[in-house]
Amino acid sequence: MFEHLDDPRPPAFGAGARHAVVRRAHRRRRRQLAGGMGVAAAALVAGAGGLYGRAAWRAGHIDRVDVASTGPVADGEPVTFLVRGVDGGTEPGGEGGRSDTLLLARLDPAAGTASVLSVPRDLLVREAASGTRVRINQLPVDRQVSAVESQLGVPVDHVVEVDFAGFQALVERAGGVRVRVDAPVRDRLTGLYIDEPGCVTLGGEQALALVRSRHTEVLDAAGRWVEDPMADLARTSLQRAVLVAALADLSGRVDPISADRLAGWAAEHLTLDDSLGTDELVDLARYVLALDPAAVTEMLLPVVPSPEDANRLDVDPAAGPPAIDAFREGTSLPEQPGDPSPIAAC
């Protein structure tokens, strides 16, 4: 079948090659040990207790979805997830399974870092079949993956979906999320209401109302409620704030009981692509638990209003490509200019 692609004179692999491989293996092992002391500690706890078995068993009950073009990642290689916040379908009038929030998360076990790039749901992407441009959140999951890969140029290894109740539970576990508002903010459709300007701690319900908000209104100086066009971008920056707060809360919780609770949460609220094996998942979970929150960088994909429709967004032609490159390569993300939105993480 593929004989025509063969090397006509392949090299011989003798003892010299074997020694080179063994040396490389030892270098790799040292690097892994240096890069993941926390992971090693977690693995020790696991070995000693054996109680992780239950967590792994529960993790085996997470819902799975078949997503073309996702696939397992070799040990120690960086992993990029497409994270989708989805309506669980339980909301009255909700459109089940639609992605309401979208972000890319890249974990680099060798470097001990993680980065998060949020993708506004109003970003316009070209639909491969029809050639028309549509909002990215209107696409089903496999076409979202291919749009991210072919149009943003970020390869996606795995997909994880979190339902709204899971998001709410995560915020509550983390003890709420701190946000700053410049003026009172509300959304009568999602039930968001923050009446005091300044830094406030939102519980799970209000945090969910905020990240779901599409019609955010801000009280202006004249005492009128006006819809704020920047609110959607603010919303996406809050998703990242929640994620980082949740990570900070989870970090260091490598004991079996926390692992079991986390696995129970995952089994209840997550859906994963079916190419993510339980072993790979458990390794990644241990990695995330051992992650230093200071090693997590996050930013919003730089966007500009689209010339086609001011309510839709395009990738910022100047600031977008360097940010995407930095995210993909795992280098530090560029500084983002001052956020003009009325809501921000605090």
């Binding site: 025509h4 392949p10 090659a17 996702t70």
Partner: protein
């Protein structure tokens, strides 16, 4: 090829065969000697580190890891190509007589559902027997036949299409 004794063979015993296998898989995907040697070395180093887990199904394991590594590196190459908008990506190592160009093979493999990709890689890149592929993937021989049949059909479709219709990439190219 495989030892029939109860005691699993040592890494040292299996090294030459496995390295040749990894090299063949890597070369079929990359067409580059230095890169294929490096990929084979990396795959074997990873096998060495977890030899006890790998030893029962070493050929399938090494073939799968090599395929994933080669496809991963191809993705990195592709990222480099992305940075130069307006330039056609170089068609590396293409020989006019190739019934299926390497870039096409990698691109199609990458786009296949995981089971099909693994079945095609193990069966046709690593030339493993169907029974071994089935044992490694944990499915029946019939399922392997079905996965490889679909995967090969996708490869044939790609071969029949014009060679330059790769979907181009948006952010930079569209502006």
């Amino acid at each position: 090829m495989r030892s029939t004794t109860r005691q699993p063979p040592s890494f040292e015993e299996r090294f030459a065969d496995l390295a040749s296998l990894a090299y063949r898989v890597a070369f079929r995907l990359t067409g580059d000697r230095a890169e294929s040697e490096d990929l084979a070395q990396e795959a074997l180093a990873r096998a060495y580190l977890r030899w006890r887990r790998v030893a029962g199904y070493d050929e399938a394991w090494v073939a799968r890891v090599t395929t994933n590594l080669a496809i991963g590196r191809w993705r990195r190459h592709r990222r480099v190509e992305l940075r130069a908008p307006g330039h056609e990506p170089p068609r590396r190592h293409q020989r006019p007589a190739d019934p299926l160009d390497r870039l096409e093979v990698v691109r199609v493999l990458r786009s296949l559902p995981r089971r099909q990709r693994e079945a095609v890689a193990l069966r046709y890149l690593a030339d493993l027997p169907e029974a071994d592929v089935a044992a490694h993937l944990g499915c029946s021989v019939g399922a392997v036949k079905q996965h490889t049949h679909r995967g090969l059909a996708a490869l044939r479709r790609a071969a029949e299409q014009a060679p330059h219709d790769e979907e181009t990439t948006g952010v930079r190219a569209s502006r």
